[in-house]
Each structure stands twice: as structure tokens, then as C-alpha cells.
Amino acid sequence: MKARAWLDGMAVPAIAILLFVVGYPTLRAILLSGYNDQLLDPAHVRFVGAANYARLWRDPVFWSAARNTLVFTASSVALGFVLGLALAVLTEHLAPPLRWLRGTLLTPWAIPVIVVAFLFRYMLDQQVGIVTYLLLRVHAIAAAVPWLASLRWAMPAVVLANVWNQTPFYLLMFAAALKGIPEEVRDAARIDGAGGWQEFWRITVPYLRNTMAVACLIMVITNFNNFPLIWAMTGGGPVYATTTLVVYIFQLAFAQFNLGYAAAVGTVWLAVLLGLAIVYLRTLQRPAFASVNEA
């Protein structure tokens, strides 16, 4: 029997390109994290070993940004996931005259993130925003609230805009996966006396599990990297209330031009992201997941 080649020759060009466009910058960033490299002080570039990592350990802004990244990602993914799933299930059996509704629900996904950011900035404006106006009209608030300049409300406001933009992605993924559930399985469950809720938990959810895992993985990575929405809505403020790791890296690298320290934060951020990716990929490879596909 012929031994299986460990590397397919056809993959070599792709691997070479990836090594150049992904591998080299990653390696360069890791090396840079060992240097005091500040563009505004080019005369004092020197190797400092792990000093940037030691500084990071003591840096309260880094820990605040790490916490904000988790809050932003977790709440965006959880809310988008639940809303997307609910909308997919609710619109699965729409009558033909109402099928346009599903297309309409996908519209926010087609809007560029930067437009979403400015849309919500204007809607949440303290003086002329529609949100403040409506809440004042129904007496839900006593005075205009500076949503995006408030330590309490800035993060929820950014998450709200993000969820509005990303929910259609989950809807699209789950709607496609729902089509893959065999009708015979549903019929069998109904014959066995399963109600709607039982059908959802025992048929729909197991069949969607792979899609759910993939959708969550994609959106966790997307939201870990979500820079334009936060930057355009709040610039990471007020104080550091909406500064996530990617915003902090941008501020360090392109506002303070401290490339060495920015690379150290970026390396930690990359390690966390890789860890998450490995966890999710391992989850996907579990026998329980594979069996659903085989079913």
C-alpha cells in the first residue's frame, strides 16, 4: 500500500503565501514585542526582553480592555445568537405573502459597519437623537442622557448597535440549517406526540448544534477584532469604558506610536484568540458533533 504523502504538493503555493502574509507579520510582531520601539523616539530603539510583558501585567488599562473585550464579545454573541435563532425559527414557515419579511430582516447585515456606527451615533445623540427624543416623550427618562459619553451606558449602546448589525448573520446561518432537518424526523417526533417546545429542544437544537458552534466561533473571532464600530461610535471612551484590546492596540500603535508595547498587547491578544479557536475546533471534532452530521 502506498504511503500517504504528509504534504500535498498542490498545497505548497498556498502555504508559501500564508507564511508570507500571515506567518512573517506574526513572527515580526512577536519579535517587536521584545523591543522598546517608539516611532516618536527612534534614537532609543533597544531590546528590552520581557519588559513590555511585565509592564502589561501592571497596566490597568490593559486589564480594563481585556475585561471590555470579554463583555463586548460575550454579550454581542449571546444576544445576536438568541435573537437570530428566534427569528430563524419564527420565520421558518412564513406564508408566501410574508416571505419578504425574512429578506428585510437580513438588511442590517448588508449595511457597512461604519455606516451602522454613525447611524447609532446620531440615533443616540444626547441633543438630537431619536432614542433620547422618544424616551423623553414616553417619560421613560427624566432628562436627556449622553448615552455614548456615559460610563454606564456606553458599552450597552455599542453592543446594541453591534447586535443589530450581526443578528441577520445568525438568522441566515440558522435558516439555512433549518432547511437541512429531514421532514421525516420531524414527522416521526410529531407522531410520537412531541409538542412544539419538545421538537425544538430534541430535534431542532441537536441538528443545529454544528451550525451554532461554527456561527459562534466566527462571531467570537469577528467581535474580538471589531474595531471600526467601537472606534467610530466612542473612540474607546468615555475614559476606557469601551476600549477593547483591539482598540487599545490601535491607540498604542497609531496614536502613541509605541510599537513595541502595542506588539506585546497584540501577542497576548493573538494567543487568547488562538486558544479560543482551538477550543471551538476541538468541540467541533467531538464524536457527538460528528454523529449529528452523520445522522
Partner: protein, 429 residues
């Protein structure tokens, strides 16, 4: 046979076509027949209000200097330093750039700028305001020349002051009197925003707040170490907290976001450059220049404990990069922008800013004779101080502005905020 001959001819024809194409591209450069291109990064052509005027100036320059072609690269004001440093690091800097404030000092620190002493004629430098030339000197060498002079002045809306029962021709002269005036304005009409204070976390945000820091006696950036945990800093932060708590300003707004309010007469006091006049005229088409002059007055910023008035320059400067391909052509363009009569009439004066020429008032008596420009030249310019610009300023502003935002939006004791600020500033030194 015909087909074979055709196939043989194709490579020859293709080769000839490529040769002709390459020659047509290379000829003008190789033999100096084409115009020299000067790349000019600027935000004047990125902003709708100033874009037509700067493009007119560039066209006029190209007509007067047919051997020089200007390639204008629009970049927004907030992105210009980032863009220039990225371009410089990538080995592709422009020839000339418009720049302002700490960005000039920061860019000079990278070593990318061309010293201008050997290029700038003495007569030209002597024709400029001496303190404006000083703003472009670092370590004894000239790296930037002034293009427009634009310190921040204290603007007050006369009808709103009158409406609040205040003397419209006697704006508040002290911080304490100003707080009282803002209370009176707010009490009369809650729809009016008393003052537009920019506390956004950016280098320019600290520039805007620098005169207020000085008014309270705060000097957070010492020469060798930070000095933020002081009673003076606490007084400044308490003032910021008072303004936001009492509704005297809108937190989170950029300076420019208060200008539409000024144009609609919904802002009582502004701390803005002389260009605000032009912005109001462009935003409120129903107002005539005479009406703007009658509505708005300009004076010095109210004084703090030491009784002195302070302001900062937001002047736009011009710099040349060491890598500029034709330094002579680049310099001719820079000098043209700063001092040519038609360029000043077309761009500088229509933008509502002040030319850097000492004899500008005599050269343009009509445009420079208005009360707002006069107030800037007579009262505001003498109070200009240069903030502690430099690499430390670039690293320190996030901590100071985060502290200001914490005071504005949070409930932490002010003393805790200054302690945190001091600890964060240590890392900048």
C-alpha cells in the same frame, strides 16, 4: 501558412507595443521634459468648507508655475499624523504636508522632516510674525513655517447674553464670573448649551484644555516627572465635573460638533479659532457677515487664580520631508501658500483665519478690519502659550484626558482620579 506567419508576427508586434508604451512612460522623466510633481498631504482639501478654495489656490499655483504639478492628498485633520508616520515608515512620505500642534513636534521627533533654514529666504522669514516662526523651530533649526494663524479665542453670543440679563458687551473676565453667566444663560433657556468644551481623548483634546489647566495653575507635565496629583489639577477636574453635572456643556462632543449649535445661536460661549466665523457663515446661509460680527464677540479666555489669560495656537503649519524629490519646487509651493497675495485672498482670508504676514492688516485692510479678526490680532494672540508639546505629550495625553472624562462622567472622588492619572503618567516618562 498565413496562420503560421501571423503567429510569428504576434510576439514581435507585442514587443514593439510594450517598448513604445515603456518609452512613453519613461521619456518625460528620463529627459526632464514633464512637470515636477509635489505631493501635498493636507486636510484643507478633505473638508467641504475649505476644499474649493484650496483647489483654486493649487490651480492658480500650477498656472503660475507650469513646471510644477501639485498632487493634493486629502487626509482628515484627526488622521494626519498617523497617515504621515505610516507613509514615512513605509518609505513613501509626501513632499509637503499641512500639520498643526503637537503633530508637528511629534513628526519632527521621528527625524523625517527637512530643516528649512537653507531654503527659506531671510526676507521671507522676516515678513512673518516672529512668534509664529518660533513655533516651527526645534533645537535651533526651522522645521515648519506658519501657513495660517489661528489661536483659540473666547467667543460669546451677544443676543443670548442679553436674553439672560447679562451685559452683551462685557463678557465674563474670570472663571467664577463665567460659571455665574452660564447659570444665567441656562436658567433663561434650557435649550441653549452654555459652553462647548471638548474633552475627547486625543492630542487636540488636551490642546483645547491646556489653557484651562493653566488657568487653574495645573502643570501636569513636569520637565522630568509628571505632576498631576496636585490641588491645582483637582481644581481643574472639579470645574470639568461642575460643567457636566450642571448641564453647562455636552460631554463626549468634539470641538467641531459644537459649531452647528453656534451657527443656530444655541451656544452661548465657545472656545474656538477665528475660522468659526467662516464655519457659521457656511452652516447658516441666512446670516450675513455683518450679522455674525454683530452676534458674536471675541475676547480672551476668562482668567483663573493668577489673573492671567491663556490660549493655545491651533495654527496650521507647512513642513517638508527629507525625502522630498525636488526640494526647490516644494519650497516654492510652501512659500506661495503662506505669502502669495492671491493665495491669501483665495484661501486664508475666506477661511476666516489670519495670514502669518506681519503687514497683513495693511495688505488686506478690508478683510482684516472686521471686529472678530481685530479682536484676535489685538487681544487673543498676545495670550498664546505653547503647550508642552513633544514625544512625552503624545504619550501623556490619554491619561490626562481619560482623567477629565472620568471627572465628567463618573462618580469617583477627584482625589482618586488625580492619583490614578499620576500613576499612569509615570509610564510616559
Amino acid at each position: 501558412m498565413l496562420i503560421t506567419r501571423g503567429r510569428r508576427r504576434r510576439p514581435v508586434l507585442l514587443g514593439a507595443a510594450v517598448t513604445v508604451l515603456m518609452l512613453s512612460i519613461a521619456w518625460p522623466r528620463a529627459f526632464g521634459a514633464g512637470p515636477v510633481t509635489v505631493t501635498f498631504v493636507n486636510w484643507a482639501s478633505a473638508e467641504p468648507a475649505t476644499r474649493p478654495a484650496i483647489l483654486d489656490v493649487i490651480n492658480a499655483f500650477e498656472r503660475a508655475h507650469p513646471s510644477v504639478e501639485i498632487k493634493s492628498v486629502p487626509v482628515s485633520f484627526s488622521d494626519v499624523l498617523h497617515q504621515l508616520i505610516v507613509q514615512t515608515t513605509a518609505g513613501n512620505p509626501p513632499d509637503v504636508a499641512q500639520i498643526a500642534g503637537n503633530d508637528t513636534v511629534a513628526l519632527q521627533a521621528t527625524g523625517a522632516l527637512q530643516p528649512l533654514d537653507g531654503l527659506a529666504p531671510r526676507a521671507f522669514l522676516e515678513s512673518l510674525y516672529p512668534n509664529e516662526v518660533t513655533l516651527g523651530r526645534f533645537g535651533g533649526a526651522l522645521y515648519a513655517i506658519p501657513w495660517v494663524v489661528a489661536p483659540l479665542g473666547f467667543w460669546y453670543n451677544r443676543p443670548l447674553l442679553r436674553q439672560a440679563g447679562l451685559n452683551p458687551d462685557r463678557p465674563p473676565a474670570t472663571i467664577a464670573a463665567w460659571l455665574e453667566a452660564m447659570r444665567a444663560v441656562r436658567a433663561k433657556d434650557p435649550g441653549v448649551v452654555p459652553f462647548g468644551l471638548d474633552i475627547t481623548n486625543r492630542s487636540f483634546g488636551l490642546d483645547v484644555n491646556w489653557p484651562f489647566l493653566l488657568a487653574f495653575g495645573a502643570r501636569p507635565l513636569g520637565v522630568r516627572a509628571p505632576d498631576a496629583d496636585t490641588p491645582q489639577m483637582r481644581a481643574y477636574l472639579t470645574w470639568v465635573r461642575t460643567l457636566t453635572r450642571e448641564g453647562d456643556t455636552l460631554p463626549g462632543k468634539l470641538l467641531g460638533e459644537f459649531r452647528p449649535l453656534a451657527a443656530r445661536n444655541q451656544l452661548a460661549f465657545a472656545f474656538d479659532g477665528p475660522y468659526l466665523r467662516g464655519v457659521i457663515l457656511s452652516l447658516n446661509k441666512s446670516m450675513t457677515p455683518a450679522q455674525v460680527d454683530a452676534t458674536w464677540g471675541v475676547t480672551v479666555l476668562p482668567a483663573g487664580a493668577d489673573g492671567r489669560h491663556y490660549t493655545v495656537p491651533t495654527d496650521h503649519q507647512l513642513v517638508m520631508f527629507k525625502a522630498a524629490r525636488d526640494k526647490g519646487a516644494a519650497w516654492v509651493f510652501m512659500q506661495y501658500l503662506a505669502s502669495d497675495r492671491s493665495a491669501i485672498e483665495t484661501y486664508t482670508l475666506t477661511s476666516g483665519v489670519i495670514p502669518p504676514l506681519r503687514n497683513a492688516a495693511a495688505m488686506f485692510p478690508q478683510q482684516m478690519g472686521g471686529p472678530i479678526v481685530q479682536a484676535f490680532v489685538r487681544d487673543v494672540i498676545p495670550t498664546v502659550v505653547r503647550p508642552a508639546w513633544g514625544p512625552t505629550y503624545s504619550k501623556a495625553y490619554p491619561a490626562i484626558m481619560a482623567g477629565a472624562q472620568q471627572a465628567a462622567s463618573g462618580n469617583d472622588p477627584i482625589a482618586d482620579i488625580t492619583k490614578q492619572m499620576q500613576a499612569q503618567l509615570q509610564a510616559a516618562y
